[in-house]
């Protein structure tokens, strides 16, 4: 750890007073998500449990965030909600990033008709405002978590293609690429071994920022009822449910909303901090 704290990257990261707290926050959220069954006070409330005796209770020591109309502990549901969101984020990015980056690198480096075709397709996907595309796809499919992942991935990959495309195009003019070409390295090798590693910082920063935005988009979708279905806890649908009972039982909407905010904020700030280290200003 001491070697890390002496590295110049860490110093730059620390300079921004918000970076370290955001790192802590993100680690906390991830920990909550991973250890949800253990950490949540009422893990069974993440499922189809009803306890009408304890319904609509305001925040208390037993239920720090109160209970919802079915008597389920909101704190526990939020923790599981984070789990769902992060799983979604990881899967979506796990699909979108490899596809998007590969397409972008290939288009950017090889140019020609490959470039044209790939970028035109990318343009098409990017012409539909992201949320709209995801909603339309979700609307046409059954609202399950899996379908949600597909829909959001489908709208997410073009952003990585564009990023990778721009990076590939500018990197392909750099000396090290020309040198490799002169030596006679295969194009595939150049892409994978030379260009790709130089794209990693920018892509990684974007991934961090995107984890936050996936939470945003996913909660927007489920707010409309297009995401996971009850009783699975999801931050967006919790807000939607809770919104019906405003303002009396305000905790049912407010705490999930805050949870969304905090999640997006954490990843966003962390992404900013990473950008400071990697200093990508193109």
């Amino acid at each position: 750890m001491s070697k890390l704290s002496r590295s110049p990257g860490w110093y730059k990261f620390r300079r921004n007073p918000l970076s370290v707290p955001s790192l802590v926050l993100v680690v906390l959220i991830i920990a909550l998500a991973v250890f949800a069954p253990v950490v949540a006070p009422y893990p069974e409330h993440a499922g189809a449990v009803v306890d009408f005796i304890n319904a609509s209770l305001p925040p208390s020591w037993a239920h720090p965030f109160g209970t919802d109309v079915a008597g389920r502990d909101i704190l526990s549901r939020i923790i599981f909600g984070y789990r769902i969101s992060l799983v979604l984020g990881v899967v979506v990015l796990g699909i979108a990033v490899p596809i998007g980056v590969t397409l972008g690198l290939v288009a950017g480096y090889f140019g020609g008709w490959v470039d044209y075709v790939v970028m035109r397709i990318t343009d098409i996907f990017l012409s539909v405002p992201p949320l709209v595309l995801a909603m339309a796809i979700m609307g046409l499919l059954e609202p399950t978590l899996l379908n949600g992942m597909m829909a959001v991935s489908a709208m997410w990959w073009p952003w990585y293609t564009r990023l990778a495309y721009n990076l590939a195009r500018s990197e392909s003019r750099e000396g090290y690429v020309l040198a490799a070409e002169v030596i006679g390295a295969s194009k595939a090798h150049i892409l994978a071994r030379e260009i790709l590693p130089n794209c990693v910082p920018a892509v990684f920063t974007k991934i961090t920022l995107d984890l936050g935005f996936v939470i945003l988009i996913a909660s927007s979708l489920s707010f409309l009822g297009l995401g996971v279905q009850p009783p699975t806890p999801d931050l967006g649908s919790m807000v939607a449910e809770g919104a019906q009972y405003l303002p009396d039982t305000w905790w049912m909407a407010v705490f999930p909303a805050l949870a969304i905010l905090v999640g997006v904020l954490g990843f966003n700030l962390l992404g900013d901090g990473l950008r400071d280290i990697l200093d990508q200003r193109q």
């Binding site: 012409s127 303002p247 700030l269």
Partner: protein, 344 residues
């Protein structure tokens, strides 16, 4: 407009048209290829087998995909987007009646974003690292990370329940008749017809949804403007302007602002896309009878034709805004319009 700008505009128009065609193919394919029988879904689980078969015939669902698409294009050229399976009206009629409401809202939000976001960003850059800068950055950050539906609910809470200052549902209060339709936007139509009270009422209804829509964008633009202005001020040509004693006001409002606006405008286009998406949420919360709300209903009811129609219109609109933004950037940045552009 100089000829280079005109040429660029024509080119963009053409490529956007091609892209729109691509979008139509995309959404069409998605709509037809998804699992499930659209006809059955539309008719519901109680429909008889015959009804389903009939509907499938009517909708040409049994024919190969390219044929269906051509049918679609043919109809589209004639101005027909099919029937909404839910409202039982032609989709074009539905779109026509709901689009102006959404446009009205989105224009207002766009105006708010530019009119608030840019000056606030400039202010933060001017008083860099001092109190006001920190406040601005904090608020902007909150704007960016909070989903619009949360803003919508929050605003609703404050203004409907705690301080009943502004209306939270619909476009007009009960008992207020809409003005005679010219553009379809109540505020503009009311102004044209000289109906002052109607205008006020419509405007009041627009405030909260417009704000909810705009807050995220305001945050983004403020942040971008701040960064961009700060960066511009660090440039040698600004130091030179100061060394020559150019009036500070002139530097801020013209000399530094113009180059600083270029990155901001780029973000504005992106912001617009986000706003179009957010409209779907905000219109739901505020029961704003716009295209976005219609779209949500269409999606929830799996109304194929309507979904396709809505997506097309929204994309077309976004493409137009993109062209405008790109033209504005080209006007601002002489390098773009004068250096030969790679055919995109």
């Amino acid at each position: 407009m100089s000829s280079s700008l005109l040429k660029a505009f024509a080119l963009r128009l053409w490529t956007s048209l091609l892209v729109l065609v691509g979008v139509s193919i995309l959404i069409f394919c998605i709509a037809r290829v998804i699992p499930g029988d659209p006809a059955r879904i539309a008719l519901g689980p109680d429909a008889s087998e015959d009804q389903v078969i009939q509907l499938r015939e009517r909708l040409h669902l049994n024919e190969p995909l390219p044929v269906q698409y051509l049918e679609f294009v043919r109809n589209f050229a004639a101005g027909d987007l099919g029937m909404s399976l839910y409202t039982r009206r032609p989709v074009t009629t539905d779109i026509g009646s709901f689009l102006p409401a959404t446009l009205e809202l989105v224009f207002l939000a766009g105006l708010l974003v530019a009119a608030i976001g840019i000056p606030v960003g400039v202010l933060a850059a001017r008083y860099r690292d001092r109190g006001i800068d920190h406040v601005v950055r904090l608020l902007a950050l909150l704007g960016v990370v909070t989903p619009s539906f949360v803003w919508a609910i929050l605003l609703m809470l404050i203004f409907a329940f705690f301080a009943e200052l502004l209306p939270v549902a619909g476009r007009l209060s009960e008992g207020v008749a809409p003005p005679p339709t010219i553009v379809g936007m109540y505020t503009i139509d009311a102004l044209i017809a000289g109906q002052w009270t109607t205008f006020l009422d419509a405007a009041r209804h627009m405030v909260l949804p417009g704000l909810a829509l705009a807050l995220s964008g305001i945050g983004q633009i403020a942040r971008m403007t701040r960064a961009s202005v700060a960066e511009t001020y660090a440039a040698p040509y600004i130091e030179m302007a100061q060394a020559y004693g150019f009036p500070e006001r002139r530097i801020a409002s013209r000399y530094a602002l113009r180059p600083a606006m270029i990155p901001t405008l780029t973000i504005l286009g992106l912001d617009f896309a986000n706003m179009l998406g957010a409209a779907f949420l905000v219109e739901q919360v505020f029961a704003w009878p716009g295209l976005a709300r219609y779209g949500v209903q269409a999606i929830l009811h799996k109304d194929l034709n309507a979904i396709v129609g809505v997506v097309l219109i929204v994309s077309a609109f976004f493409l137009i805004v993109n062209i405008l933004v790109d033209m504005a950037i080209a006007w601002l940045n002489p390098r773009i319009r004068l250096e030969p552009r790679r055919a995109m």
